[in-house]
C-alpha cells in the first residue's frame, strides 16, 4: 500500500439527483497507468471530475483517498497543490489572461517554495514547449481562447509537464488530435508516467500504441464491468462494448 496514490472505495456520485457513478472501486499505485474506456455517458468524465472536486458532482456514498488522505477534506486548489492534476476534456477559456502569466501563477501556486525562479521557469517552459512542438507566440495568447482542439490539448499537457503531478488524470486528452499531435501528447504522458500514477480516459485504442497501460478498465453505466491488460483495449477495438453487457 506504500505506493498507492489513489484509492476509490465503492464510490457513488450524483449530478442533480441522477446517479451517474454506481459503485466504483479502484486503486492506483505510483508508476501505474490505468486506462478507462467506455461509451459516451458511461460516467468516465464524471469520475475524473469528481476526483478533482468539481462542485457540480455530489458524492452520495463511498470515498476517495489520495496518498491516504480523504479527498472530501480537501478543496480543489489543495488537491492541485498536493500533486493532483486533471487534463480537462473541455478546458475553460479565460479571455484576457495570457498563457504565460497563467502558467507562471499556476506553477508558483502548486510548487510553492520549490517553484523555480523566473529564469529557471523560462528555461523549463522553453524546453517543454519545444518537446511539445509549441511556438513561443502561444504564451501571449489568451488561455484557450480561440484555440483549436489540438492546441487546447497541447496546453493541457504543457501544464502537466510543468506541474509534474503525483497523480495525473487525463480525460480524453487524445480526442481530436492528428497522428503527430497524438504522438507528442503520448510522449508527454510517458515522461511523467514512471514517477506518477496516471488515470487515462479514452475512447480509442490508438493512444495505447504509444502509452503502455498497466490496466485497462471498461466502464458501463457507472460501473467498472471488466479489467484487463492492454489486450482488452484491442478486444474492444475489434468487438465494441456489446459483448460486455450480456
Amino acid at each position: 500500500m506504500g505506493d498507492e496514490v489513489l484509492a476509490i472505495h465503492d464510490l457513488h456520485v450524483s449530478v442533480e439527483g441522477n446517479e451517474i457513478i454506481k459503485g466504483i472501486s479502484l486503486s492506483i499505485n505510483l508508476g501505474e497507468v490505468h486506462v478507462i474506456m467506455g461509451r459516451n455517458g458511461a460516467g468516465k468524465s464524471t469520475l475524473a471530475n469528481v476526483i478533482m472536486g468539481h462542485p457540480a458532482y455530489e458524492v452520495t456514498s463511498g470515498n476517495i483517498t489520495y496518498n491516504g488522505k480523504d479527498l472530501d477534506e480537501m478543496e480543489v486548489f489543495e488537491r492541485a497543490r498536493a500533486g493532483m492534476f486533471l487534463s480537462f476534456q473541455y478546458p475553460s477559456s479565460i479571455p484576457g489572461v495570457q498563457v504565460g502569466t497563467f502558467l507562471r501563477k499556476s506553477v508558483t501556486a502548486v510548487r510553492g517554495e520549490s517553484a523555480p525562479s523566473a529564469r529557471e521557469f523560462r528555461k523549463e517552459l522553453k524546453s517543454h514547449m519545444e518537446a511539445l512542438d509549441m511556438d513561443k507566440s502561444f504564451l501571449s495568447r489568451y488561455v484557450n481562447d480561440g484555440f483549436s482542439g489540438g492546441e487546447k490539448k497541447r496546453l493541457e499537457i504543457l501544464q502537466m509537464l510543468l506541474l509534474n503531478p503525483n497523480l495525473a488524470l487525463l480525460d480524453e486528452t487524445d480526442s481530436g488530435l492528428d497522428i503527430d499531435a497524438l504522438r507528442v501528447v503520448a510522449e508527454g504522458i510517458n515522461s511523467i508516467g514512471s514517477t506518477s500514477g496516471c488515470l487515462l480516459i479514452t475512447h480509442y485504442q490508438r493512444l495505447l500504441d504509444h502509452v503502455k497501460p498497466t490496466y485497462v478498465h471498461v466502464m458501463i453505466d457507472g460501473k467498472i464491468v471488466k479489467t484487463g491488460g492492454a489486450e482488452l483495449a484491442l478486444d474492444l477495438e475489434a468487438k465494441g462494448y456489446d459483448w460486455l453487457e450480456a
Partner: protein, 336 residues
C-alpha cells in the same frame, strides 16, 4: 453658442442623463460656475478651444482656466494630468498625424475634476486614458474625437479611480475608410459609480467601428454603459458593432448596459449585444484545479475580463501600460 448658465438643465429621461443626472455630477449648485484650480498637464502648448452648446462641455469650458494642445507626429507620448484642490478643471486639444500613441494618466485627489478633450486623428493613433483619481473624487469627462479619411483611432479607457464618475465620449467617423476600435474597462468596487456614455457617429459610408465595454462590479458599486450608434442617411457600407459585458461579483453590485442604434442608411452592418453574469463556475474550477485559491482565481478572472476589453488594441505600448496599471490597482484592492 450659448454659455453655461443659459443652457437648459437636461431631464433624467434623456438617454445621456438617465443614470447620473446633471444635478448629481455638478460640483455645487447647478446655477453656479464655481472657481476651479487648473489641471496640471505634464506637457502641452497653451491653446484655446471653443465653447459648446452641450451642458457638460460648456460647464467645463466655463470653469476651466487652462487649455493645452498636444501635437503628435508619428511619436509615442505619456502625459500626466494632475488634479488637486476642491474643484479642478482643464481642457485639452490633441492633433495626431502618422502612427502615434498617447497615454493620458489622470490622477490626483481633487474633490471634483472636469476634463474636456477634443481630438483630431489623421493617420493611426492609439490612445489610453487611465482614470486613476483618488477614491472619493467626483469626475466629469467630456470628449469629442474626429477621425479623418483612411485614419484609425484605437481608444482604450481604464476606469478604476474616483467615486462618482460620468464620462461622455463622442467619436465622429468623418471620412471614408475611417476606423474606430474602442475598449472600455471599468472596475467597480465599494460604492463606486461609473457611468460611460459612448456615441459613435458614422457620418459617412465605408467606415468601421467597434466598441467593447467590460465592467467588473463588486461591493455595492454601480456601472453604467450606454452606447449610441448613429449611422447617417446615405452612410452605406458602414460596419459597426457594440458589445457591453458586465461581471457581477456581489449581490449588491449593479450594472446597466444599454446600447442604442439610430440607423438611417440601408446597406450597413450594425450589431449590438449586452450581457451581465457572475463569474463562470467552470473558469473558477479550472483555475482552482491549477492550484489557485478561490480569491486568486477570481482575481485572475477579473483581470482577464477587464483586459479583454482591449483585445482590439494592437499597440503594445498602450496595452502594456493598461495591464500594468490594472495589476497595480487590483493588487491594491486585495491588500487594502
Amino acid at each position: 453658442m450659448m454659455n453655461y448658465p443659459n443652457i437648459t438643465i437636461p431631464l433624467r429621461s434623456e438617454h445621456l442623463w438617465r443614470y447620473t443626472s446633471w444635478k448629481r455630477i455638478h460640483p455645487t449648485n447647478v446655477d453656479e460656475i464655481p472657481t476651479a484650480d487648473p489641471v496640471k498637464f505634464s506637457e502641452g502648448e497653451d491653446s484655446k478651444i471653443e465653447d459648446s452648446d452641450e451642458i457638460a462641455r460648456s460647464f467645463i469650458h466655463s470653469v476651466s482656466k487652462i487649455c493645452k494642445r498636444i501635437n503628435l507626429v508619428g511619436e509615442n507620448k505619456e502625459v500626466d494630468l494632475r488634479c488637486s484642490g476642491h474643484i479642478c478643471a482643464g481642457e485639452l486639444e490633441i492633433n495626431s498625424e502618422g502612427d502615434s500613441s498617447l497615454i493620458l494618466r489622470i490622477s490626483g485627489d481633487a474633490g471634483w475634476t472636469g476634463i474636456r478633450l477634443i481630438g483630431t486623428v489623421s493617420g493611426n493613433l492609439s490612445v489610453a486614458v487611465v482614470n486613476d483619481l483618488s477614491k472619493d473624487g467626483h469626475f466629469l469627462r467630456a470628449e469629442d474625437w474626429t477621425i479623418n479619411r483612411d485614419s484609425s483611432l484605437e481608444f482604450a479607457t481604464l476606469s478604476v479611480g474616483g467615486f462618482l464618475n460620468k464620462s461622455d465620449i463622442r467619436v465622429k467617423l468623418a471620412g471614408k475608410g475611417a476606423e474606430l476600435r474602442a475598449g472600455i474597462a471599468s472596475n467597480g468596487h465599494a460604492s463606486r459609480h461609473d457611468d460611460h456614455h459612448f456615441e459613435i457617429d458614422h457620418s459617412i459610408g465605408y467606415t468601421t467601428s467597434s466598441l467593447v465595454m467590460h465592467a467588473a462590479c463588486s461591493g455595492s458599486s454601480h456601472s453604467i454603459g450606454t452606447g449610441l450608434l448613429k449611422i447617417a442617411d446615405g452612410a452605406d457600407g458602414s460596419d459597426a458593432a457594440q458589445v457591453f459585458r458586465n461581471l457581477l461579483l456581489s449581490e449588491k453590485a449593479r450594472a446597466e448596459a444599454i446600447p442604442e442604434l439610430e440607423v438611417l442608411a440601408d446597406d450597413v452592418k450594425a450589431a449590438h449585444g449586452a450581457a451581465s453574469a457572475p463569474i463562470d463556475e467552470n473558469q473558477l474550477h479550472y483555475l482552482s484545479s491549477r492550484g489557485l485559491s478561490k480569491s486568486q482565481a477570481s482575481s485572475l478572472i477579473v483581470e482577464g475580463f477587464l483586459m479583454d476589453a482591449f483585445r482590439h488594441v494592437k499597440n503594445d505600448i498602450v496595452v502594456d501600460c493598461l495591464r500594468t496599471r490594472l495589476l497595480v490597482h487590483l493588487e491594491c484592492l486585495i491588500n487594502g
